[in-house]
Structures are given as C-alpha cells and as structure tokens.
Assembly symmetry: C2
Homo-oligomer: 350 residues x 2
C-alpha cells in the first residue's frame, strides 16, 4: 500500500538526529529551534518527501479540516434554485486551495434539523458550518454556538449572533425592479414573495412595499413557500382577482416562470398585458419567450467570500460583517410599458 509506506515524522526525526517533537516545531515554524537543527530537519523532510498525515494531525489538534453546509429545503426547491451550485463552486474555489473539505448534509425526513447539526458536531466531523436561508429568530444560531462550532451566516441574523456574516442587499435588487416598473408606468403591482419566516424573503417583501409606496404605486403581496406550484397559484389568484396588477415582481425565477405559464394560460401576452420580473437570473430565464427580466446576484463570489470568512473565523479572527456588491437588474423582454387601461377580467385587454 502506498499509504502504509509513507514516511512518518519519526523517520524525519531519526534522519535529522532529533526528537519527533522538535521536528514538529521546526516544520510548523515555531520558535525554540536552533537554525542549524531547523536546517537539518527541513532537509530531512524534503529528502524523505514527508507530508504530515492529516488524520494524525486531526487527532492531535482536534480539528477535522472540514466545513459543513446543511441544506434544509426539499430537493425540488433546491433543484429549482441556481444559487446552491454557484455558491458551492465559490466555496470550493477557496476551500480547494486551503486543504479544507466541504461536507454536505441534507435534512432528511425523520431526522430533524437540530439532530443534523448535532451529528456534524459530534466528534467534530466539521469545524464550522455555513448557515444559509436564515430564518426569523433562527434557532440554528444558538444550536451551532452551543455545539461549539464556528459558523458564518449568509446575511445578518435578527437574533444575537457571535458569528461573522456575509451579506448581499437583495432588497436593493427588488428596489431596482420596482423602480424599473415605475419607469414603465406601472401603477398597480404585486409581489409574489417567499415565506415570511425566511429573512431574505421578508427583506425582499419589505423592500418591495417601501419602494412601491415611495413611487405612489398600489401594491399587494402574496406569500408562498418559494415553490413553482405556489407561485403559480398566487399568480392565478392575482390575475383572476378584481383588480389584477399590471406587473408582478417575483421573489425567485422559478415562481416567475410558473407565473408566466399561468399568465399565458389565461390568454395574456407578456409583457403587453403583464410585466414580470424574477430573482436569481437563472440561465434558463434568458432562453424563455419572452426572456425574463431578473435580479442577478453573484452567488459564486458570495461563496468565495463566505469560505474565506469562515477560514478566518477558524483561525480565531473576531467576527466581522461583510457586505457584497448590490444585485443588478438584468432587463430582458418580460417587462414593458404598462397597458393603457387596467384590464377588467382575464383575456380581455384594454
């Protein structure tokens, strides 16, 4: 076996004529080693091609050199979300050059969320975790802290947190979308939002309400679970209601696409009869007919910064709070000038 024949620190010590402990000191650049000894030890290690055994190292320092990412949404919702693949790619951009490894855990039915973190913390399978999809009064902050793990949160929690955070102002993305619709003359708009219990969904909804108010628009908010099914249902309720909006701002692309399907099903033409905007700037969006106007965030950069931040947290740096670049609005074909007169009922235009 290749691994069995790997040189150990004892081999290096023997070759350099010193003790194991001194080798460790020399190789980790610690003080208390004479220049001559250091030289000999480094040479011996180089000649033997020695690299420390991760597992032995892991045992003695009590760290696992791994970082956890717990995904708590259903596979369907994750599958629809382009965020995670890009975010994970960003994480890997940094971890792969730092010797850290990414451990993925999914909250499976029958195993509660807290148990998942507990399993990860047990034996320190991971040194820290990345907390995504922050919720109102998120219990995970306390759980993870109590478990003695490090963490980085995506966004600033609404509870006391000892952890660093990396944030993107997605409210700004929504503001851009509403501003754009205001420019196009829309006065009656709606927002199909995510769950009120999710911090970023709530933030988007709040930004929507505030911006619409600032423009003097009439605005409504429908709450969903972020799924295409509920996005479609909310859209149908909106469009079949008494005073259908002339534009709908969706809290993700997935619901926007489903909403577009409903609008077309009801005989409306987008953007002539109805403008819609998404959030995430899914690759698919640009290939739809009409191509989707959407808010774009740089998930990969977010991942890279989050990885860097947890690396620093593990190194003992005090908590800090970073803000990334604002999202941008990518204007495509699904938004256009508001119809002259409000539609009365489905299918009839002006």
């Amino acid at each position: 076996m290749a691994e069995a024949s790997r040189p150990t620190i004892a081999d290096v010590a023997r070759r350099a004529g010193v003790s194991k402990g001194l080798v460790s000191f020399a190789l980790n650049g610690k003080p208390g080693v004479s220049p001559a000894s250091r030289e000999r030890i480094l040479a011996a290690a180089r000649e033997l091609g020695w690299t420390p055994s991760m597992r032995a190292r892991s045992l003695s320092v009590g760290r696992s050199f791994a970082c956890g990412l717990v995904i708590g949404r259903s596979p369907d919702v994750i599958a629809a979300d382009p965020f995670f693949p890009s975010f994970i790619a960003g994480l890997e951009d940094v971890f792969s050059t730092s010797g850290l490894v990414l451990v993925l855990a999914a909250v499976t039915p029958g195993r509660h969320e807290e148990q998942t973190y507990r399993d990860l913390a047990h034996d320190k399978r991971v040194d820290g975790v990345i907390l995504t999809d922050l919720r109102v009064g998120d219990p995970r902050i306390g759980i993870v802290d109590g478990l003695g793990l490090s963490a980085v949160t995506l966004g600033v929690p609404d509870v006391d947190s000892p952890f660093s955070s990396v944030s993107v102002d997605d409210g700004a993305g929504i503001r851009h979308a509403v501003d754009h619709l205001a420019d196009l003359g829309h006065g009656e708009i709606a927002h199909v939002a995510g769950p009120e219990t999710m911090l970023h969904a709530a933030r988007r909804a709040q930004a929507f309400a505030e911006t619409a108010r600032a423009h003097g628009m009439r605005a409504r908010i429908m709450t969903t679970d972020f799924s295409a099914a509920e996005g479609a249902a909310a859209t149908r309720a909106l469009l079949e209601g008494d005073e259908p909006p002339t534009a709908i701002v969706y809290s993700n692309d997935h619901m926007a696409v489903a909403g577009l399907g409903i609008a077309q099903r009801l005989g409306l033409t987008v953007p002539r009869d109805l403008s819609i905007t998404g959030f995430d700037d899914t690759d698919l969006g640009r290939h739809l007919h009409p191509a989707l106007t959407s808010v774009a965030t740089d998930a990969r950069a977010w991942g890279a910064v989050a990885a860097q931040t947890i690396l620093e947290a593990l190194a003992g740096t005090p908590a800090k709070h970073l803000d990334l670049d604002e999202p941008t609005l990518v204007i495509r074909e699904s938004t256009g000038a508001a119809p002259r007169r409000p539609r009365r009922s489905r299918g009839s235009t002006a």
Copy 2:
C-alpha cells in the same frame, strides 16, 4: 470544553478493571473475550456514556468514514439539472444513518479533475467516491482505482472497471418518448442530444435512433453540451432548416424549455405545430405553458441505492451491478398529434 471531558477508552478500562486493548475487542464484538469481562466492559461503557472518538478511530483504522462526490460540470449546467439535489438527498437518506459523511468537491478552474481525485485520496479524505456522468473511455476509473479508493459508478462504464455500478436504463425513457410520438403520427423527428463523449447522452441518442428506425420515422440528431444555449441553437437550426421535424426529443428538460422558447419565437404553437419532450421531469416543466411532456427518473432512489452499494463495497463485498426501475414518460401538454402536412418554412402552418 465538552469534547475534552468525554470519557475515553482508558476510563472504561479502568472502571472495568481491564486493559484498553480488551475494551476495544469487547466493544467491537471480536472473539477472545470472556463473557464475564465482556459484560463488565459493556456495562462500564454504558455507565460512562462512552462513544469512540471518530478521529482516533479514523487514525487507527486508516479510514475517514467519508464518501466523495466530485462534480465536474459548470455551475450553470448543474444549476439547471434537478438530478443532483435529488440524488444527494438519496445519498443522505442512507449516509446519515450510517455515520458516513458526504464530501462534495467541485472541479474548479485551474485544478484539473485528476488533481481533485488526488487531493481527495491524499490522506484518504474519503474512503470512496461516487462516479457520475460517465464518459466514453472514462479515465477516472483508472485514476480512482490507482489511488486505492473504492467507488461506485452510475451506469456501467465502457472500460474495464473493478467497481460496482448502479444503472438506470435511460434508453428506455427515450424509447417511451419516441413510441409516444409515433403513436401521435409523427414521422419526421429530431433529437437534441448531449455530448457524444458522455455515456448516458450517447445511450439516449442511440435509443432514439434505433426506436425511430423501428418505427420507420425519419430522424436526425443534433449534438450539444447539454446547455440551454446550445439546445436553443440546435432547435433554431432544426426549425429553420429545409425539412423541419414535427417533433423534437430533448436529452434534458433544460434544453427542452429553451427549445420551446425558440419555437414560440419563430411563431410556432406547441404542440399544434411542433411536439417536444424533455428528460428529467423538472418540477418547472409542469408549470410551463404548455406543460412539458418529460421522461422521469427517480434520482433520489438512485442515490439511496448508490449509497448502499458503496457502503457494501467499503465493507468488502465483491463488485455487483444493479439495475433500477425504468424511467417513465410523463405525458403532459407539449406533445400532440402530428400536423397534417409538413411545414415548409417558419410561421406558416399547413
């Protein structure tokens, strides 16, 4: 620190009045321990609430109790693919109850694929890997084997492999789609395929060609990289060509949606002028207008079986080859009777 105060095997030995070595034997159910001693040791361990330290165990047995999944596609393509989230959920269903952990690695730019496996194998950060997206003459089989890792492949490789495999006959899914189109009277069909270098893409293309021939249909195949952009381009080439097909079978949902966008852009109505089928049965598909007819596979079950299989491989079971249930065709609105007469050019219908 909670971890620092955990009882160790020495505590158990002291309490039971035996040596550390015997405790280890007793707790791992090995022979050579008298019933009386075994009893006392088990009792002592129970009373102390002792559990073995993962890291110490990992060091002495030379295993990491982790399994790797290397994703080699670009984030955009992964984001569009509902397979991974569901597959990973399936893996977790099994791993989470087995004490195994899933390590995710992405092939990042500047770090070659082989290096990624090498990093994972170095220090045995993982005990085994799951090989997805098999390619023609896939070099990973040899690399992983040479690295001394266990593995399970998704599908049977076209090269010699010492590893177990778990397969789904996606060719059958394509056959169902083509049969369905034949039933609807289509005689001129096309397939927008994935890369010829990918085994499952090639298998789908082959199943397409064979089934079309069996039905006496005229068939063409366009090769893409599985991306929406190339799916759209292929569709445009097909529909603007001399003899546009009346139906297109796509190798994934993502391209099917992009193709739908192109068809609509060219003034065609689906399925009146053109029928289309997808592959993956994305959640989004059912919310489009028209809702997408698509081939569905149970990715989560696939993940669970793959996890179980690699668990067995790690336990020393000889390689075996499993076949999962055939994919099914979910018929929705994007397929319909073939147009009476072939269209001549874009926009004009019979």
